[in-house]
């Protein structure tokens, strides 16, 4: 079995008196799709925020490849190859679709303020490469024809794809997708499933937070179930679906909600 790409050991995060994530441990095997599911407020998005360093950990440790992530800021973690999308979209609406993706090339390009200010030949060549690579990422998600449009003019579902394209531009090793199917119609969801599987074939490891069970069970190699900030179960999609604790807590809660 290959070494874990990402591992969390005993991580905890409380907001005031509310414990969002309580002593959670899990590991992600490289080249797989791992889903995190659980009722609303189970701590899924908080875990993404802890992995990307948007919030500091109260306790525990997160490791990525050979690096301890504790103490690294968000941009440093991105530099290591961790990219993420957002449940509530964070598109740069002050830029075009293409420019949004070009920002994703930031970590893999070098031109500094002075090189940019005087447009050195090196910086011009780099700029041309950035544009080319960003366009390739847009093609991958099927948005190349909207490249020059203002990013805010895209319909909701395409904005989700734009966030994924922007992540791909960073050439991530680990991609965190936070409810990528929320607000998508059936056809868009099917296209998304195909896209996620094609990314896995490219060797990108995916951590997926998603409510849509058909999508989760269809594409995940393993599933982690959270409830009240704690791990309720983990294993293959089949094993999790047949786990009595999961059926009771998770599906039961959803029935109760409805």
């Amino acid at each position: 079995m290959p070494a874990d790409l990402l591992s969390a050991r005993g991580i905890r995060k409380a907001f005031g008196g509310v414990v969002a994530v309580a002593d959670v441990s899990f590991a992600v095997t490289p080249g797989t799709v791992r889903a995190i599911i659980g009722p609303n407020g189970a701590g899924k998005t908080t875990i993404f925020n802890l992995i990307t360093g948007i919030f500091p950990l109260d306790r525990g440790e997160i490791r990525f490849k050979e690096h301890g992530l504790n103490g690294l800021s968000t941009w440093q973690r991105a530099q290591l190859g961790i990219a993420r999308t957002f449940q509530n979209l964070q598109i740069f609406t002050n830029m075009t679709v293409l420019e949004n993706v070009m920002v994703g090339r930031h970590r893999l390009s070098r031109a500094g303020l002075l090189a940019a200010a005087f447009q050195t030949p090196g910086s011009r060549r780099e700029e041309a490469r950035i544009r080319e690579q960003a366009l390739a990422c847009l093609e991958l998600v099927g948005l190349a024809d909207r490249a020059q449009d203002p990013a805010g003019s895209l319909p909701f579902g395409q904005q989700r794809l734009l966030e994924i394209a922007r992540c791909l531009a960073t050439e991530p090793t680990l991609l965190l997708l936070d409810e990528p199917a929320a607000g998508l119609n059936l056809a868009e969801t099917e296209a998304l499933a195909a896209l996620i599987l094609s990314l896995r074939r490219r060797g990108i490891t995916i951590l997926l937070v998603e409510h849509l069970m058909d999508l989760v069970m269809g594409i995940s190699d393993s599933v982690l179930v959270l409830n009240y900030g704690q791990v309720l179960a983990h294993g293959s999609p089949e094993a999790v679906q047949n786990n009595p604790a999961v059926i009771e807590a998770y599906l039961g809660a959803e029935v109760a909600d409805a």
Binding site: A78, I91, G112
Partner: protein, 320 residues
């Protein structure tokens, strides 16, 4: 198209002194050049990176005082003094930016305002260096390789050239990886960070760059007026720079020269016209007229003059 518009603009600017011979008009044009340099920096900082500064006059003053002190007291050649001013001012902005650029919105506005007031008071109080409230007289004209910019016409070319260079540098920055990183901070700071943009560093860099531009203008101002004194660098001046940037339009660096020109000409026009309309007009009446016109501009062109005129042109074309 854009290149031709720029070349055309340069030709027009180059020909102005041939037709404009009145010294007071040339003086106004020189100030437009100086203010447009400061406003260009502010536009990068606020329009692109989304960070506000109400202390830009302090950087303008630091450049002016550095040039004045070094050329008057130490006989340093004026270009070296100008460069020293830029380096000093950028370093001050960088050091001061480390703690305060962590603040956002109104808090950042307050901190930069306070910084501006502190620097202004330093100009007034450190008399042995700055000459106190009366300032430093007798700043020599700027001179480069033995060429002295000792007339308004020469200084017009100097400041206009510097303003154009500043705009070109700003345009290059905007159309680069750095420019996109700045706009990404404005768009969504958290998303920028998750894409590997060191937002704290980018903010510091653009803050220092905007300060360097203000310093450049300040040095040229000192050599133009041949006198520096604190009142030119008080917080009212900082507010005026923000007004110029907002009136020109923050969405594009090309708004900066238009905003600087509009506000400078407006203030000058009011000063000349008001006494004709109102025999007892005083400075206060001027401020009232100035304020009313600004409010009207911002109501009808909230995106600034450049965007407003562009939209008006587009509407005009549709009618044709």
């Amino acid at each position: 198209m854009k290149v031709w518009a720029f070349v055309g603009g340069v030709v027009v600017l180059a020909l102005i002194p041939v037709f404009v011979r009145t010294p007071s008009y040339l003086d106004v044009l020189i100030y437009i050049g100086l203010y447009s340099i400061v406003t260009t920096g502010l536009c990068l900082l606020t329009g692109y990176a989304g960070q506000i500064s109400l202390g830009q006059a302090a950087f303008y003053g630091l450049g002016a005082y550095t040039s004045a002190i070094l050329t008057v007291s130490y006989d340093v050649p004026s270009p070296l003094a100008l460069i020293a001013g830029i380096i000093l001012t950028a370093a001050v902005a960088y050091g001061f930016g480390i703690p305060i650029l962590k603040l956002k919105g109104h808090y950042l506005a307050m901190a930069t305002l306070a910084f501006g007031i502190i620097v202004y008071l330093a100009f007034v109080e450190f008399k042995e260096f700055t000459g106190g409230p009366s300032g430093i007289p007798g700043v020599p004209p700027f001179s480069l390789f033995g060429f002295r910019f000792d007339s308004d016409t020469k200084r017009y070319y100097l400041t206009t050239g510097a303003a154009l260079l500043t705009l070109l540098v700003a345009r290059n920055v905007v159309n680069s990886r750095i420019g996109r990183a700045l706009r990404s901070i404005h768009g969504s700071e958290v998303a920028a960070e998750t894409l590997g943009v060191d937002t704290a560093r980018q903010k510091l860099q653009v803050f220092a760059l905007s300060a360097a531009m203000a310093s450049l203008a300040g040095s040229l101002y000192a050599h133009h007026l041949s006198l520096v004194s604190p009142t030119a660098f008080n917080f009212v001046a900082s507010i005026e720079f923000v007004v110029m940037a907002a009136v020109g339009g923050l969405a594009s660096i090309w708004g900066a020269p238009f905003g600087a020109a509009a506000i400078t000409i407006l203030a000058e026009a009011i000063r000349r016209v008001m006494p004709l309309l109102l025999s007892y007009a005083s400075g206060e009446h001027e401020v009232i007229a100035y304020g009313v016109i600004l409010v009207v501009i911002m109501i009808f062109m909230p995106e600034g003059l450049v965007a407003g005129l562009r939209a008006a042109l587009a509407r005009g074309r549709e009618r044709l």
